[in-house]
Structure formats: structure tokens, C-alpha cells
């Protein structure tokens, strides 16, 4: 009976899988000659970005890889590699470490605790690199540098921007996007539409979380740090400093103007779609969404992007680099293997590859030489939004960075909960300020107590 059941089940499954029959075959790289080295590369990209990053690996295999006998196997590992690496490290499972893994900047402190890590700096110290440190954007190098040592190679970098609906701005008589938070509050007042008790159209949509706040804090003055030890980049961060240096209060004071307009939507539902539906005039999002918004809006209305509004008009810090880098591991204590992986890591950051990746995904090129390539000027002229993003990074101080706050998830939770409560009038400015500062410091203290 069970046999019958099983057979029937299999038939059923096979039949239903007919639907997926057209499915793309698994990319199985078969080198023509003897396979010499297989480099395992774990990435976190899905959708179009996954296609772009797989293409990178395929092209490497077809060119440099073919010449040097290296085959890169690119593997999707869910949206958080750091999580997976932590599990491996805790299980003492060193042999399953990949050779190359894509991680976000916040994952660097954790990655550095793994003995298998090979800092990119060590590879540079060996000499002979075909993508030199001088070729790379200094902000992006610093993004993945700890205590003066470059840990990861920037690959997919982004920037935070203000997206605005040009037609809507025109309609309410606004000429230019706001450059400060106070101006933004004024724009919201003009953009918002209230019907009875309900807000029919908001001025701005953004949920202020760790990512947004660190940009608002870091941009103040010439630049500013989120926590001690340069925001955790010289030594582990033990406390936040935005409370004592007054930058959090400065931001909250300005932000209160935004909240008071009543036209600020403080939570995000489907922000891309809603921007395309003109439910609000402005949104604060990363450059990684430019492609998405372009596709969604089509030619329904004109829109543009602008640098993130500043807290104070005289601020010079600009914005922090977002996105991810790749880090290298040496699980087998095999320096030839590491050298092979290094070839691929450099390849990912090389000018032509970065330009193609930029066109495919919208991430900002990490290699300065990209701008000398043919066709780039034309591409940027056709895509002014990307030009704004690139300029925003170029105009920012390299010291304005996301913090290495170790417990980034907890910090994120604290910030978003208090910022939402503040926006909804459940907390006063003072309560929000003290809540963020004290809870962040408490959590950091707890962490250091357990990890002396």
C-alpha cells in the first residue's frame, strides 16, 4: 500500500513539475582542461542583482579563470551571509567556510573574529595586484576598513538619496528639492493634501532606522562619529557619542519640524509602489532602488533624486557609503587557493566589470577608473539620477561612515522603535533622545561584559 502511495506521489510530483520544466538549467561550469581550483563565492543577491552577480562569476570563469585554471562557483546564501558564517564559526565548522563571501559593512566586526579571515590588506601587502587601492573610491575603502587595515573589497555600494516627484513639486509651486530638513518640512506642508481627518497625500515617506540616522548624524559639521573609537573603526565601539556631542538632539529638533507638519508618513509599507502611485511627494531611499522606481513609474510623471537633506545648512559631511563588500577566507590553509580567490575579488572591483554591474543593478561603481571608460559619460548623461548619487558620494567626507556597532540589529531595533514613537507623538523629543542613547549604551555595555 505504502509503495503504491509513494509511487502515486512521485508521479503526481513529476507531473506538477512539468510546470517548471522550462526552468533554467543549473549553471554547471565544466572547465575544458583539468579543474585546478574551485573558488566558492557566497552572495546575498536575489532577483536582477543575482543575475548580475552570477554573470560576473561566469565571465570571470570564461576569461581570467580559463587562463589560470580557476572556476568560481557562485552560491546564493539567503539575504544575510553574516548569519550563516556565524553559525559555521560557532559550530567550529571551518571546512565549510567559503573562499569569498559578500557581507554588509556591519558584518565586518563579526567577520574579524573568525581566524579564517584573510584581510584584503594582507593581499595588497603581498604586491602584484591588478586592481590597486589607489584605483578605488577612498570612501568605499574606508567603509570596509578597521583600525587602518582594509578588511573587505567594496563590490556593491550604494548611497542614500532623496527621491522626489518633480510633477508634484511643480504642481504646488516648488522649484527645487529641499537641501535641509527644515526646508523639507516646508515642502511637506505644500505637498500634503488633507481630506477631512485623513491625509490623502503625504509629503514624505521614510522610516528612520539605524541606516538613516547614521547618515543624519555622520553628515553634521565636517563629519561626525556615531560612537567612540571613530564609530568603532579604531577599536570596538563601547558607547554611542551622538548624545554627548549634541548631534542627536540637533537632528531630532529639526526632525520634529517634519513630524509637526502632519504630512510625514513614518512607516514604510510598499514604499516603491506607493511612490509610483504618487501617495507622497518625497521618499528617502537608497540608490539601489533607482532601477525599480524607473520601471514602476514609467512615464507617468517626472521624478528625480537629490542629495539627502542636511540637518544644518552649513553641514559638510555628506553621506555614508551603504551596501556590501566581499571578504576572503582561508579555510584550508592553502595560500594558492587564497591567491586564486584574490584574482576573482580583484576582478569584481575592476573597471569594466564594475561598469557593467552598475548598469545591471544601479550600484555605484567602486573603481574610479570606471569614469575613464568609453560610454560612461553618455550613460550618466542619460541617467542623471545615478550622477546625483555618484556626486553625493564624491562630495562626502570619507570619515562619514556607518558605525561598526557590533550589535547593529539591536541598535537598529532601538532606533526604529523610538523614532516611530516620536513620530506618532507617543514620545517627546527628550524621551526619544534619552531612550535611544541610554538603551544603545546599555546594550553595548552588556555585550562588552559578556565578551571581555
Amino acid at each position: 500500500m505504502k509503495k503504491v502511495l509513494t509511487i502515486a506521489m512521485c508521479l503526481l510530483m513529476v507531473a506538477s513539475m512539468g510546470f517548471a520544466a522550462g526552468s533554467k538549467e543549473i549553471v554547471e561550469t565544466k572547465p575544458a582542461t583539468l579543474p585546478i581550483r574551485t573558488v566558492e563565492f557566497w552572495h546575498t543577491m536575489s532577483g536582477v542583482n543575482a543575475t548580475a552577480i552570477d554573470k560576473m562569476a561566469e565571465q570571470f570563469n570564461a576569461t581570467i579563470g580559463k587562463a589560470q585554471g580557476i572556476v568560481v562557483k557562485s552560491v546564493f546564501q539567503g539575504n544575510d551571509n553574516s548569519e550563516k558564517l556565524k553559525t559555521l564559526a560557532q559550530a567550529g565548522d571551518t571546512k565549510n567556510f567559503p573562499d569569498v563571501a559578500q557581507i554588509v559593512g556591519a558584518g565586518i566586526p563579526a567577520a574579524m573574529t573568525y581566524s579564517q579571515l584573510v584581510p584584503v590588506q594582507d593581499m595588497y601587502d603581498k604586491g602584484g595586484a591588478f586592481v590597486t587601492k589607489a584605483d578605488l573610491e577612498p570612501n568605499m575603502i574606508r567603509s570596509f576598513t578597521y583600525a587602518g587595515k582594509m578588511i573587505g573589497m567594496p563590490v556593491s555600494c550604494s548611497a542614500i538619496l532623496l527621491y522626489y516627484n518633480k510633477d508634484m513639486f511643480k504642481e504646488v509651486g516648488l522649484a527645487n528639492p529641499p537641501t535641509t530638513i527644515a526646508e523639507m518640512a516646508d515642502s511637506i506642508k505644500k505637498l500634503m493634501v488633507v481630506k477631512g481627518k485623513d491625509v490623502e497625500r503625504y509629503g514624505l515617506n521614510v522610516a528612520v532606522r539605524r541606516y538613516q540616522l547614521s547618515n543624519f548624524i555622520g553628515g553634521q559639521g565636517a563629519f561626525n562619529f556615531f560612537g567612540d573609537n571613530e564609530g568603532g573603526r579604531l577599536a570596538p565601539m563601547t558607547k554611542v557619542t551622538f548624545g554627548e556631542d549634541g548631534t542627536l538632539r540637533a537632528f531630532l529638533t529639526e526632525w520634529e519640524k517634519v513630524i509637526k507638519t502632519g504630512g510625514y508618513k513614518a512607516w514604510e509599507d510598499d514604499i516603491n509602489e506607493e511612490f509610483a502611485l504618487e501617495l507622497f511627494g518625497m521618499a528617502i531611499m537608497s540608490t539601489a532602488r533607482i532601477g525599480k522606481i524607473t520601471a514602476l513609474v514609467g512615464d507617468k510623471f517626472a521624478w528625480g533624486v537629490a542629495p539627502l537633506p542636511k540637518v544644518n545648512a552649513q553641514d559638510k559631511g555628506g553621506i555614508a557609503v551603504g551596501g556590501s563588500c566581499v571578504v576572503m577566507f582561508d579555510p584550508d590553509k592553502d595560500s594558492a587557493q587564497v591567491d586564486a580567490a584574490w584574482q576573482f575579488v580583484q576582478y569584481m572591483a575592476s573597471p569594466e566589470v564594475q561598469f557593467q554591474f552598475h548598469k545591471d543593478t544601479g550600484y555605484i561603481p567602486v573603481n574610479k577608473k570606471v569614469y575613464t571608460l568609453p560610454g560612461v559619460a553618455e550613460h550618466l548623461a542619460n541617467n542623471p539620477a545615478y550622477k546625483v548619487a555618484i556626486d553625493a558620494i564624491h562630495n562626502s567626507h570619507p570619515n562619514n561612515q556607518e558605525p561598526f556597532d557590533i550589535i547593529n540589529w539591536e541598535i537598529d531595533t532601538i532606533i526604529k522603535n523610538h523614532m516611530l514613537a516620536f513620530a506618532q507623538g507617543k514620545e517627546t523629543l527628550q524621551q526619544c533622545h534619552d531612550g535611544i542613547v541610554n538603551e544603545c549604551n546599555q546594550k553595548l555595555a552588556d555585550y562588552h561584559k559578556a565578551n571581555k
Binding site: 500500500m1 509513494t6 506521489m9 532577483g47 543575475t51 539567503g78
Partner: protein, 281 residues
């Protein structure tokens, strides 16, 4: 005569109305699935409407093409099939064996062991995730089907269901069998198990659906695209900056099909399996 006729007619009308009512209610229950199916055929710009619309203006297959082309859905489905199929069969076997011991033997510590087994229901898999990963890694089972399946091979709830079912058999069956010179093992394999197909089917199906739908564990113990399950495939369509609903709904519908088909096929068996005494107090 006419009175009888009219009562008959009344009955008939009542009967038809009742059926219409029941089916309408059923359609209402699966409304979210219908919603997903409709959206999977919609062009992207129609999903984005205010107010929302429900019937595709133009029925398109693009979402399905995209869902299939951006992932290796076929391979994922095969992996899920192996994972869910084999581990469910094993689960039925382990449950039947344990339940047999609990319901047909008297031995020291029987109740204690039973309580300890039942206690496992209250220990969530997530707490023990890291430790289990360590165990499986030490066994060298990373990137293997065995590693993916191993934590699903036994379930206390299934043992409980099976035991409840066995308890409905009188012990005299076994005694009669034993008198006939039937060994315990033969009784188990040749008499008890064939009599238990309904409950075994129920357990198999519920285990199958459960493992088919797991996400975290298979993700954790594999780091090879070729070993991934279909639930991971669905998340691969989750674009990093916001969901693109069309292809996600299309993939969801594709992923749903096998479980729904199995379900349609075996539904009667499941009901009779549960009826067979799964819960008889």
C-alpha cells in the same frame, strides 16, 4: 400527492441552496489563494492600482516566465520532493515502531519514556538550531540530503497520533495472533501495519506538507545551489528593495501546486485516518 410533491420540491431546493451556500463559503475561505492566482496573471502596472483591481485586464504569463527563469525551480522542487518524501516515510516508520511499543508492551518506565517523548513537543526547534547544526556538521552531513532530513525523522506528535490509533485495537488481536504462533514482529508488520494505513497516510501527508514547507534548516545545512529547496526558491524572488508581487505570486502558485495536488488526491484518506482514532480521548 401534491403535498408530497411540494415537500419533495422544497427538499430539493433546500438541498441545492445548501450546496451553493457550502461552495460559496469554501470559495470565501480560499479567497487569498484566488487573489494570489489572479495577481500572478496580471501585468505589473495593473497590480499597482488605487483602488485595487482584481480581474486581470490582460491575462499574461510573463510573471510565470520570470519566476521560472530567475530560479532553477525544477531542481528545487526535486530537492524538496526528496527531502519531504523520504523523511516523511521514515517518520511514519519511527512513529509506528514507537507507538507499537507503547501500546502493546508493558515494561518498566513506559509512562516515563512516553512523557519524555511528549515533552519534546514543547521544545522549539529554533532553540536547538545551533547545537543541532554542530551535531550535523560533526557527522559530516553538510550539503547532503541526509543532513537536510535528519532533524525531521521523528516526531512526538506523530507517535502520539499513532499510539491513539493503536489503542483502539483490542489487545486480544495481538494475543490471538501470538497464540497462532505469530511473532511480535510479524504481528506488527503483517497485521497491525496493514490495518493502520489510514492513520499512516494521515501522518505521511501532514509530515510531507510540513517538511515541504520548512525553510530555515535546509538553508542552514546546505551551501550549494543544487541542494536548495523550493521554499528558498520562493525567497530568491524577493527582490532586495521591495517585493515584486507578480513573479512572487506566480512562484507561490507553482510551489503550491504539488502540495495541493497531493492533498486533493488523498484528502479522503486523511479524514478517515484522523477518524481512525487519532483523537479518542
Amino acid at each position: 400527492m401534491s403535498k408530497l410533491n411540494s415537500t419533495l420540491n422544497k427538499r430539493k431546493i433546500f438541498d441545492i441552496l445548501y450546496q451553493v451556500f457550502a461552495i460559496t463559503l469554501g470559495l470565501f475561505v480560499i479567497l487569498p489563494i484566488i487573489y494570489a492566482a489572479l495577481i500572478s496573471f496580471m501585468p505589473a502596472n495593473q497590480i499597482l492600482r488605487r483602488p485595487p483591481t482584481f480581474i486581470p485586464k490582460k491575462w499574461i504569463l510573463d510573471n510565470y516566465k520570470l519566476a521560472i527563469n530567475t530560479t532553477t525551480l525544477g531542481r528545487f522542487m526535486w530537492n524538496s520532493l526528496i527531502l519531504a518524501g523520504i523523511s516523511s516515510v521514515v517518520r511514519v516508520i519511527t512513529a509506528a515502531m514507537a507507538a507499537f511499543a507503547f501500546s502493546f508492551y508493558k515494561f518498566k518506565g513506559r509512562n516515563l519514556i512516553f512523557m519524555l517523548f511528549m515533552g519534546t513537543i514543547m521544545i522549539p526547534g529554533d532553540i536547538v538550531l545551533v547545537t543541532n547544526y554542530q551535531t550535523v556538521a560533526r557527522m559530516g552531513l553538510i550539503n547532503t540530503y541526509m543532513g537536510m532530513m535528519i532533524v525531521f525523522l521523528c516526531s512526538a506528535a506523530n507517535i502520539f497520533m499513532m499510539r491513539q490509533y493503536f489503542l483502539t485495537f483490542s489487545l486480544t488481536i495481538k494475543e490471538a495472533a501470538t497464540v497462532d504462533g505469530c511473532s511480535n514482529l510479524r504481528f506488527f508488520l503483517q497485521i497491525l501495519l496493514p490495518l493502520s494505513t489510514p492513520v499512516m497516510t494521515t501522518i505521511f501527508i501532514s509530515a510531507f506538507i510540513g517538511t515541504w514547507n520548512t525553510y530555515l534548516w535546509p538553508m542552514l545545512v546546505t551551501n550549494d545551489n543544487r541542494m536548495r529547496t523550493v521554499q528558498v526558491g520562493v525567497t530568491m524572488l524577493n527582490f532586495p528593495d521591495g517585493v515584486v508581487y507578480g513573479p512572487v505570486m506566480a512562484a507561490s502558485i507553482l510551489v503550491l501546486l504539488p502540495t495541493v495536488l497531493i492533498f486533493l488526491f488523498f484528502q479522503r484518506k486523511i479524514v478517515s485516518g484522523i477518524m481512525g482514532g487519532a483523537v479518542k480521548g
